[in-house]
């Protein structure tokens, strides 16, 4: 599993992402539609080879914490648990020729930009579809809801991608 340095880094990342999410991003209300959820960067950044059960526990705790601040009990938690469950399948689906190096963190610098973009797009897609399905199940196929989902997902992807230029968590390349 992750080495102790990574554990501390991810712990700090948990607190920072949660604070940013509830204090900054939940207050964004661009055009009344865009509410990005970049806090899932934590789940996307957990090291390769981490046990899915552990990832799901982290996802549940993270999602539940966000839920408390958003008055949406269970919705973020449910979306995060599902994202954690499918993360290994996403990684397998987009894997390059060689196996992932257990213990390193998947970041923009691990492989190349297009690999990371694919990874983030799929992760954010899974999370947002489930989240909006939970939150607005009765109007999920209606254009304002779909537009809200697409714009929010796009904003999340952009924020996560940009975040990679500010902090090089776990740095280094796995190649």
């Amino acid at each position: 599993m992750a080495n102790s340095q990574n554990v501390i880094r991810l712990g700090v990342l948990f607190v920072i992402l949660l604070a940013l999410q509830v204090l900054v991003f939940n207050n964004l209300n661009f055009l009344g539609y865009v509410n990005p959820y970049p806090y899932i960067l934590l789940l996307l950044t957990m090291p390769f080879g981490v046990s899915t059960a552990f990832l799901m526990v982290v996802g549940f705790v993270l999602g539940f914490s966000v839920d408390m601040f958003c008055n949406t009990p269970g919705m973020h938690a449910g979306a995060c648990v599902l994202l954690s469950y499918v993360r290994p399948y996403i990684l397998k689906f987009i894997s390059l020729h060689d196996d992932y190096k257990i213990g390193t963190l998947p970041t923009l610098y691990t492989y190349d930009a297009s690999w990371y973009l694919k990874y983030v797009l799929m992760g954010v897609g899974v999370h947002h579809i489930v989240l909006f399905a939970f939150e607005q199940i009765d109007t999920i196929l209606w254009w304002p809801t779909l537009l809200r989902m697409l714009l929010s997902a796009a904003a999340t992807v952009i924020l996560i991608y940009v975040s990679q230029f500010f902090v090089r968590i776990g740095g280094g390349s796995a190649k």
Binding site: M56, G63, N71, T72, G74, Y85, Q136
Partner: protein
């Protein structure tokens, strides 16, 4: 039996996944019964404290604006006071029996909104006053101009959450002030300053700009509270009912001061009505 354990060992991740999702589903479902969501809500002490600190920072930057608003309100109240003084003077001249006065019915308690959302389907407000400040569940909230904000759904010692009009779970029995036709006010989650008034029959006369007020047939909202004005008049093709768009009185994007209204005579009225029903 051995196969059973083998199965669990092989699929424990998936079983654990289903278990966690089941918890989440249970939480989501209990949330729909929004009265139950007390502890997993922003009335929770940790969450409220964070929001209160955040609002404290925001307050500092908004002081100038708030001062202007308060000054304007002061001015309006001063005018009202003046008018009432005059009326009182007129009344003193007439014969006036003190026993004719009605007992005080409503108590207003001011509270500050420390957190609000407008961009979701299920929006909530959190205020900085709870049961210790006299706020209880099912009390109503209005803004400083008397417009309906919503209903208190959960209260802890120092905080409370309000279910606002702009929440798709919220339905408000309303009527047209001029003609007294009753309908339901519902929110369609598109704009945070507009709601729909449905169930007004097509033989009613409705004009743009008509006032919409509470009808008083709900258990919590007294009659005649200002909700908004009609901004668009459409006909529902199938039903023989109007499809009316209401411009809401309260600006939810900037709602800051609210008054929580306690109805001192609610119990008496309910007892009387339930007594009538038994006969």
């Amino acid at each position: 039996m051995r196969n059973f354990f083998y199965f669990i060992a092989r699929h424990y991740t998936t079983i654990f996944f289903i278990f966690l999702e089941a918890i989440c589903f249970a939480l989501v479902i209990s949330f729909n019964d929004y009265q139950q969501a007390k502890y997993v809500s922003s009335a929770n002490i940790v969450v409220s404290s964070v929001y209160e600190a955040e609002q404290g920072v925001a307050d500092y930057f908004l002081l100038a604006d708030r001062n202007k608003i308060l000054a304007r309100e002061n001015n309006a109240l001063q005018n009202q006071l003046d008018m009432l003084h005059q009326q009182l003077r007129l009344m003193r001249n007439a014969t006036f029996n003190a026993k004719d006065t009605l007992p005080q019915r409503y108590v207003y308690r001011e509270a500050k909104v420390i957190k609000s959302t407008t961009n979701k389907e299920h929006n909530y407000l959190t205020i900085d006053r709870g049961t210790q400040g006299g706020v209880k569940e099912n009390m109503i909230a209005i803004d400083q101009h008397g417009g309906v904000v919503g209903l208190v759904t959960a209260a802890t010692n120092n905080f409370a959450t309000i279910l606002p009009i702009i929440n798709t779970s919220f339905r408000l029995s309303s009527k047209l002030k001029k003609t007294n036709f009753r309908g339901q006010l519902v929110w369609d989650a598109i704009f945070d300053d507009e709601a729909e008034l449905i169930d007004i029959p097509e033989h009613a006369t409705v004009n743009q700009g008509d006032s919409v007020v509470t009808s008083g047939s709900s258990d919590f909202f007294p009659e005649g509270l200002y909700v908004g004005t009609i901004s668009k008049v459409n006909m529902d093709r199938n039903g023989g009912f109007y499809d009316l768009t209401v411009k809401l009185a309260v600006d939810f994007a900037s709602v800051y001061d609210v008054y929580i209204v306690e109805d001192l005579l609610a119990k008496e009225q309910q007892e009387l009505e339930s007594g009538n029903n038994q006969e």
